[in-house]
């Protein structure tokens, strides 16, 4: 073996690692579905707030959560069965999604229903969990921009404490559009770009 052959070996290794990484890029489909569901729930919550029908807010969120979890379970199962390659980053990401999903369920529905805190705190705590989701995802997919969106969520959680009632829902909606829908759209575009290169 000489220098050139050694370089060729390294080129092969890099090319294969790159192909594997591209094949395992997050498609963002689940995020889009959850984005649509949460947008609907936020709109519903805001309308119920205007109508002073606060007692039905929990039903909106439970409905959205049940639909989201069922879709996620079916989609995840089908994607797993179809996937040709399973990377360690994907496995870690799946655990992160489940953990954050459980976190959203607990801080958004279960704990306030059990009387652990007022429903006013839900958006703040959900923002904290969202920050964890995006920050860790940024690390898993080696994408610093996602980590920045994680920081935006945490800053938003602090900002939400400054406003109350329906204004908080409104501010949370803005935060959701900026720090959730925007990165998800970028994630989707990145996925399509990677797929076209494969």
């Amino acid at each position: 073996m000489n220098d050139d052959q050694a370089r060729e070996d390294i080129r092969i290794i890099k090319a294969m690692l790159d192909k594997t990484r591209r094949a395992a890029t997050e498609s963002g489909t689940l995020f889009i579905v959850w984005g649509v569901l949460i947008t609907l729930a936020l709109a519903g919550t805001w309308v119920l707030g205007l109508l002073k029908e606060y007692r039905w807010e929990w039903a909106v969120w439970v409905g959205v959560t049940v639909v989201g979890w069922v879709f996620s379970a079916v989609y995840g199962y089908r994607r797993d069965r179809k996937s040709e390659v399973k990377t360690y980053a994907q496995i870690a990401a799946r655990h992160l999604y489940i953990a954050c999903g459980a976190g959203f369920l607990l801080v958004g529905i279960v704990l306030p229903r059990l009387g652990a805190y007022s429903h006013e705190a839900i958006s703040i705590l959900v923002s904290v969990v969202s920050g964890i989701l995006f920050f860790v995802m940024g690390g898993l997919y080696e994408w610093p921009l996602l980590r920045v969106f994680g920081l935006v969520w945490w800053a938003g959680a602090a900002g939400l404490t400054l406003v109350k009632d329906n204004d908080r829902i409104l501010l949370y909606t803005v935060l959701f559009v900026v720090a959730y829908l925007l990165p998800v759209c970028i994630l989707r575009a990145k996925y399509k770009r990677e797929q076209s290169r494969t």
Binding site: D3, I13, T20, A23, R81, E84, V85, I91
Partner: protein
């Protein structure tokens, strides 16, 4: 650099296709035959032969199953394979020229 400083390369890995397969399995917990074929651009027969060599050496584990009534071959890197790949990379470094030191 003298010939004595070159570390010997593992003959099982020292083939472009086998090196490519191990590189994929290093970052993936498992990969299907179809993905390996697409990524390495190898033919079915050629890839099967090289997978068998890697399996015989104990570097990969090949699992056969069925998915939607079609046979499915899945490959996984073993601990022995991971260690051998690490040694191969280390040996490969010895073939690359050392960067000239700045005066």
């Amino acid at each position: 650099m003298t010939a004595e400083t070159f570390e010997p390369l593992d003959p099982v890995i020292h083939s472009p296709l086998r090196l490519a397969v191990l590189s994929i399995l290093l970052s993936a917990r498992q990969a299907d035959f179809g993905f390996l074929k697409k990524a390495t651009e190898a033919t079915d027969g050629n890839l099967s032969t090289h997978l068998a060599k890697l399996e015989d050496a104990g570097y990969i584990r090949v699992k056969k199953s069925f998915r939607e009534k079609k046979s499915l071959t899945t490959c996984v890197l073993t601990d022995k394979g991971r260690a051998a790949f690490g040694r191969y990379l280390k040996a490969l470094e010895s073939y690359l020229p050392v960067r000239a030191k700045k005066p």
